[in-house]
């Protein structure tokens, strides 16, 4: 877009004075493309990667409104803990405050802070869980899959240092336990073994098919009638049950239900966010019929 203007040789002296000069137009100009977003016209007929029929602007709006719906109070408020309580017997009655507790009590982190901390840490707990490794059934644990390399152990040990200074064995990876060989360290895993195994044994010993208050029903002559016979699915084996129960917890984000194919299809019915009425997708006038533009304008102004 140089309009055919040819570059004027300015000589070797660099002109420091403010003003302008013709320069060669080489390639894409960032300022121009910013004004004309690439998407609009060129992307009209091309397949968009996102399955959702929303634009970035709509996505941002949805996220904003979800955040608004998640708020505790409409306005930002801070309610400090009443001071008279803090100084009074409350604290004293429990004796000295340990450094851990002081740190915890003074922390003003929100859940979002903790969550991003955890994500930055590379979720060491799932990564280190040995049970998760061979299973294909445990869904999407990218961290677990990435483990065998050296990155994850490095991260965990780093996390131990930065977060739990007091406890050398803070993170429950099996590796540090094996490496470190102080007396305490040796007794600890043994204790864990016995503790957890007793708990397991106790649970397993419970008869699997007994029912708390259930009495066996009286025998009926038609019990073996093929029409009436009830089919009970086979019990899973003890090993399967153990395996299910031993699986480590998912992380916060993994526990969120993921999109399935149905979600990614175009929704069958859409609901108007203002009146809750179902909106037929291809009939734009439906939207305008129930209520005028004014209501939408008001909605925009309010939120």
């Amino acid at each position: 877009m140089n309009f055919g203007v040819r570059e004027v040789a300015l000589g070797t002296r660099a002109n420091a004075a403010p003003g302008w000069a013709y320069i060669p137009d080489t390639g894409v100009n960032a300022s121009v493309t910013a004004l004309q977003p690439s998407s609009r016209k060129r992307a009209r007929n091309q397949h968009v990667a996102s399955h959702q029929e929303t634009t970035a602007k709509q996505d941002a709006k949805i996220l904003r409104e979800l955040a608004a719906l998640d708020r505790e109070n409409h306005r930002d408020v801070s309610i400090p803990v009443p001071i008279r309580h803090r100084d009074n017997a409350g604290r004293v009655s429990h004796g000295k405050v340990t450094p851990n507790v002081r740190k915890i009590l003074q922390s003003q982190k929100t859940f979002a802070n903790h969550l991003s901390d955890y994500e930055a840490l590379g979720s060491p707990l799932t990564a280190s869980a040995p049970i998760a490794q061979p299973s294909a059934a445990i869904p999407n644990t990218p961290a677990a899959r990435g483990t065998p390399g050296s990155a994850a152990p490095h991260l965990t040990s780093k996390g131990t240092r930065s977060h739990k200074k007091k406890d050398p064995n803070a993170v429950s990876t099996p590796t540090p336990l094996r490496k470190v060989s102080s007396a305490l360290q040796i007794t600890t895993p043994a204790a864990v073994k016995t503790e957890s195994s007793t708990a397991d044994v106790q649970m397993i010993d419970a008869p699997i098919l007994s029912q708390g208050s259930g009495a066996v029903p009286a025998v009926h002559p038609l019990d073996n009638d093929p029409l009436l016979i009830s089919r009970i699915p086979g019990m899973p084996s003890q090993a399967e049950i153990d395996w299910l129960l031993a699986a480590p917890p998912l992380t916060y984000n993994e526990a969120r239900g993921s999109w399935v194919e149905e979600d990614q299809r175009k929704p069958v019915r859409q609901f108007c966010e203002v009146c809750g009425r179902s909106v037929l997708q291809d009939m734009g006038h439906e939207r305008a019929m129930g209520y005028g533009v004014g209501v939408f304008g008001m909605a925009e102004a309010l939120h």
Partner: protein, 432 residues
């Protein structure tokens, strides 16, 4: 209490005589003592918040019941998204409820065990904080941190579906239910936990970030858009929601009834909406401290009507009329709660719904209907809620506290903590 006394008390094998069962929800704490010596354990429901009313008076926990004027009240809640995050505020509330000299549920933590619930899929850092505060700050003699849903397995599940004709006189303790699917629809989120022998199948727990708070905020939004600006009165909107919302079994039909119709063709059915329209009389916090619901009366004089018509205000009552707000908002739960997780048949036959949202009218029939439609034809689908779904988790905990052997096997004592540290405790509770 002197240190020597403490040592003699807890070093012996004698377990603490009573256990504080603490279901630490985001909205309310369900707390009470249980143990073998306690005849009929009953929970107290304590608001888990610091609240400040328009006169800048701050209420802590249960003292909120002294508040007379809830307009423009604001809250600070230590539990965020179901997880205990802010210990500064939580400690203040716990002190007020359990440890102060004139606390309603006063106890000495050194002689008391603790069963504390947490939401599934918690962050390890928050769990560690929790363990540290429980032992290092309060010094409970014995401590069990477990998933809230898990405790429900210690209730007598089968009696929820078919209430027994004769209840056993003294129910000391029952073994945990073998298999059940627990849906906990609470203030911050809805979680689905399959439980086997009283233990959660961790890899199958799913969470939906829709809970009572989101529903309340959505009602607030709709009311603010249509009638009064209620955005600073979420406490009141929550009461409106609890009083009026229901879950429909025929969404389309109900929407049709509440449709005003296009301009120039207003529908006659709209005014009462076939019984769906309800009036909520707002409290003025002078003569009326709590609002109430009644059937919609189109001729009643209300302040809002007179205001919109420009008449001088003579009506005594401020009324909000709710129509499709009543069922569209809780419908959110069911739009998202698409039951796509394939579980075993036994899980389908033992679905229990707990948490505050389970009290929304029509929740159970609707869930039963939807699950029935999705489940294979030969499966039995049973959905039920306990008689009081809010304290059900607590009752399970109370039942567990009476089973000394089981509780001892699951818990951690103060000595264990002092000897092995918090990482060991985390591993023990994590089942690793």
């Amino acid at each position: 209490m002197s240190p020597t006394q403490r040592r003699t008390k807890s070093s012996g094998p004698a377990p603490p005589a009573k256990t504080l069962v603490l279901d630490n929800g985001a909205h309310t704490i369900k707390a009470g003592f249980s143990g073998l010596g306690i005849e009929s354990p009953t929970p107290s429901i304590i608001p888990n918040c610091l609240a400040r009313d328009r006169d800048k008076k701050v209420y802590i926990g249960s003292s909120l019941s002294a508040c007379k004027d809830f307009s423009e009240i604001v809250f600070r809640r230590p539990v965020e998204k179901g997880y205990l995050v802010n210990w500064e505020a939580e400690k203040e509330i716990w002190e007020h409820e359990f440890f102060d000299a004139k606390a309603p549920l006063h106890c000495d933590p050194k002689e008391t065990g603790l069963i504390l619930t947490e939401a599934p899929n918690a962050l390890p850092a928050l769990q560690t904080f929790c363990d540290q505060v429980v032992f290092e700050e309060f010094g409970f003699a014995r401590y069990l941190r477990c998933l809230g849903p898990q405790l429900n397995a210690y209730n007598d599940i089968q009696s929820i579906y078919t209430p027994p004709s004769t209840r056993p006189a003294n129910l000391t303790s029952i073994p945990p239910a073998e298999i059940m699917m627990l849906i906990d629809s609470s203030y911050s989120h809805t979680t689905i936990t399959p439980l086997l022998l009283g233990r959660p199948i961790q890899s199958a727990i799913r969470r939906l970030d829709v809970g009572g708070k989101l529903l309340t905020n959505y009602v607030t939004r709709l009311l603010s858009l249509r009638q009064y600006d209620m955005r600073n009165d979420t406490y009141l909107v929550n009461e409106i929601k609890e009083a009026t919302c229901y879950i429909t079994t025929d969404f389309k039909e109900d929407m049709e009834k509440t449709w005003k119709g296009p301009k120039g063709d207003r529908r006659a059915v709209y005014e009462t909406s076939g019984g769906i329209a309800k009036d909520y009389v707002l409290p003025d916090y002078h003569s009326l401290t709590k609002g109430f619901v009644r059937d919609h009366d189109p001729d009643a004089a209300t302040k809002l009507k007179e205001m919109t018509k420009g008449k001088p205000i003579a009506a005594s009552e401020d009324v909000l009329t709710l129509r499709n707000e009543r069922f569209t908002v809780p419908e959110l739960l069911f739009i998202f709660l698409s039951y796509r997780w394939v579980y075993g048949q036994a899980f389908l036959a033992n679905i229990i719904v707990v948490g505050g949202n389970a009290n929304i009218e029509g929740f159970i029939p609707r869930l039963q209907m939807d699950m029935r439609a999705l489940a294979p034809a030969e499966c039995i689908v049973r959905v039920a809620k306990p008689s009081d779904p809010i304290v059900s988790t607590w009752q399970g905990g109370a039942s567990l506290a009476r089973d000394e052997d089981r509780l001892a096997a699951l818990s951690v004592t103060k000595e264990d903590y002092d000897e092995h540290g918090s990482a060991w405790v985390a591993r023990k509770f994590g089942g690793r």
